[in-house]
């Protein structure tokens, strides 16, 4: 039986009066890739952002319910600590434009004023970039700024930056929707490797991607978690009618 790392119970979220996430109960097992899919506006991104407490940064945003990381409610923790344990990669690659590749990777330490010995920093950079499958491409240019990298490479840099913080969970908010197909597939290969060390939760509007990369899939519709099952099971034999409509609507 796999252990659960992230779970939510009766979780709700609002933008002002707009109830965008309704009573979500979900349990994410460790070292899995879980895809969260659904049509636009179904609340999947909002739910994702609640997991690392980015949702509350928007004015008039509210969240209620239990959201557990291991055995602790993240809403009892200070948000900074939540984000040290749960990393996020965004839709558009956003490396810090004024920092070199090297500094981008250890940004989580450097910008926090943590002074690490050079040997340790080098080790973190190499390990993170290797795990993000970017090390060989940039190892000779570590001290250049990251703006010359392609979109896919920049996204892998952002992944390396998140990994450098040694999170337990990695959240991905439509990570390949701004990328070309080749970069997309290289990142999808990465997910397979990453799950050995981390748990991945990936929001995607691309059903085929969900089918390709994930172990389990959650289907959101109009703010509700409609169905949550093993990916193979979900796509071949969905239980809920709405899931079936969504899936078949996209095929051919």
């Amino acid at each position: 039986m796999e252990s659960t790392i992230v779970s939510s119970t009766n979780f709700n979220a609002w933008f002002g009066d707009n109830h965008v996430v309704k009573n979500v109960n979900i349990s994410i097992p460790k070292n899995n890739v879980v895809a969260v899919m659904g049509p636009s506006g179904c609340g999947k991104t909002t739910f994702l952002r609640c997991i690392n407490r980015m949702h509350e940064l928007i004015p008039n945003a509210k969240a209620e319910g239990k959201m557990m990381l291991d055995d602790e409610n993240i809403y009892d923790m200070h948000p900074i600590f939540v984000r040290l344990k749960i990393g996020m990669v965004f839709q558009r690659p956003n490396p810090f434009p004024n920092l070199s590749i090297y500094d981008n990777v250890i940004a989580g330490y450097k910008l926090n004023g943590m002074k690490l010995p050079k040997a340790e920093k080098d080790a973190i950079v190499e390990k993170s970039l290797s795990r993000a499958a970017l090390w060989n491409e940039v190892k000779d240019n570590l001290h250049k700024k990251g703006t010359f990298l392609s979109g896919g490479q920049q996204q892998r840099l952002c992944i390396a930056r998140a990994i450098a913080m040694e999170p337990e969970v990695l959240l991905f908010d439509e990570p390949t929707s701004a990328l070309d197909p080749i970069s997309t597939s290289s990142i999808e290969e990465l997910f397979h490797e990453l799950k050995k060390n981390y748990t991945l939760i990936i929001v995607t509007h691309n059903m085929q991607q969900a089918a390709r990369v994930s172990d389990k899939t959650a289907f959101f519709y109009l703010g509700e978690l409609v169905e949550y099952d093993g990916t193979k099971q979900m796509f071949t034999n969905p239980t809920d009618k709405r899931t079936q409509n969504y899936i078949t609507g996209r095929f051919s």
């Binding site: 984000r83 965004f90 810090f96 940004a107 989580g108």
Partner: protein, 284 residues
């Protein structure tokens, strides 16, 4: 048919005449600029030498003398004004860019707009009552306070505008890494916008480097070399004003030399502003 043709010709001619007139009027403003530059360079260049820079003004009637007190004074007064205005201006700009809709932001923005329009002589009066009268002495620091008030709106404005232009994704990336709010602002946003903030700072210095009115009743002037900021101090614009309006030719000479130096200094600052904007711009 002929009438329409002639009328059309007239309309086209009118348009060309208008264009010529506009071009002439537009470039007419070059004339006073060139006249001023030419005259200041002509009169000032002969007066400047090493002696001029390092010696003090001589009493009336004596030949020679220099403007060392004014040079040092200007430097110190502008430095102190910057030390006061830059942190306050940047922090205020940060607040305004981060809080666009609060009531405090509305009134603060209004206050900055008002401050920008206050005549320089009024600023001098205010600081006279706030500082000079309370401390019972004219002082360089009171002059700096007055100049700082005039620098504030420029720094606040440019900081706010620069930060507002930065994409939200930058802030999100920093927050998602677990950075606390002040580090997100100070270590990520501000460095990325450094070119805009810096050019605002340099621009504000250029603006006040030549100001005289705020210093008339605050720094007041001083014929001797003084590095004590709590005592009256001379500054370049003050010296120019005092000596230009005096009846003595030797003092007029000093004023010409000083004017050339001041003009060069202000020009340099404006050029540096332009270079800074280009060189330090972070490719977003």
């Amino acid at each position: 048919m002929n009438r329409t043709g002639a009328h059309l010709k007239w309309r086209i001619a009118k348009s060309n005449i208008a264009k010529t007139v506009i071009i002439i009027l537009a470039f007419a403003c070059v004339i006073p600029l060139l006249a001023i530059f030419f005259y200041i360079i002509k009169e000032g260049v002969t007066k400047i030498n090493w002696h001029f820079i390092v010696s003090l003004p001589k009493p009336v009637g004596e030949e020679g003398g220099g403007i060392a007190n004014a040079l040092l004074g200007s430097l110190l007064i502008v430095l102190c004004a910057s030390v006061i205005a830059i942190p306050i201006g940047i922090l205020c700009g940060i607040y305004l860019s981060e809080n666009k809709t609060t009531r405090l932001a509305y009134y603060s923005r209004l206050a900055v707009d008002i401050l920008q329009g206050v005549p320089s002589i009024v600023v001098g009066i205010i600081i006279y009552f706030w500082i000079v009268k309370e401390t019972q002495t004219f002082s360089a620091i009171s002059g700096s306070a007055a100049l700082a008030l005039m620098m504030l709106p420029i720094i606040v404005r440019s900081t706010e505008e620069t930060l507002k232009l930065l994409p939200d994704s930058l802030k999100e990336a920093a927050l998602a890494l677990g950075l606390p709010y002040h580090r997100v602002i100070l270590k990520v946003l501000l460095p990325c916008g450094i070119s805009g903030v810096l050019s605002g700072v340099i621009l504000s210095v250029a603006r006040i480097a030549g100001e005289t009115a705020p210093l008339l009743f605050t720094a007041f002037g001083n014929p001797y070399l003084n590095a004590n900021i709590f005592k009256p101090m001379q500054s370049l614009p003050l010296l120019i004003f005092n000596y230009a309006t005096s009846p003595y030719d030797e003092w007029h000479d000093l004023a010409w030399g000083a004017s050339l130096i001041l003009l060069t200094w202000v020009l340099l600052l404006n050029i540096i502003t332009k270079i800074t904007t280009r060189k330090w711009r972070v490719q977003l």
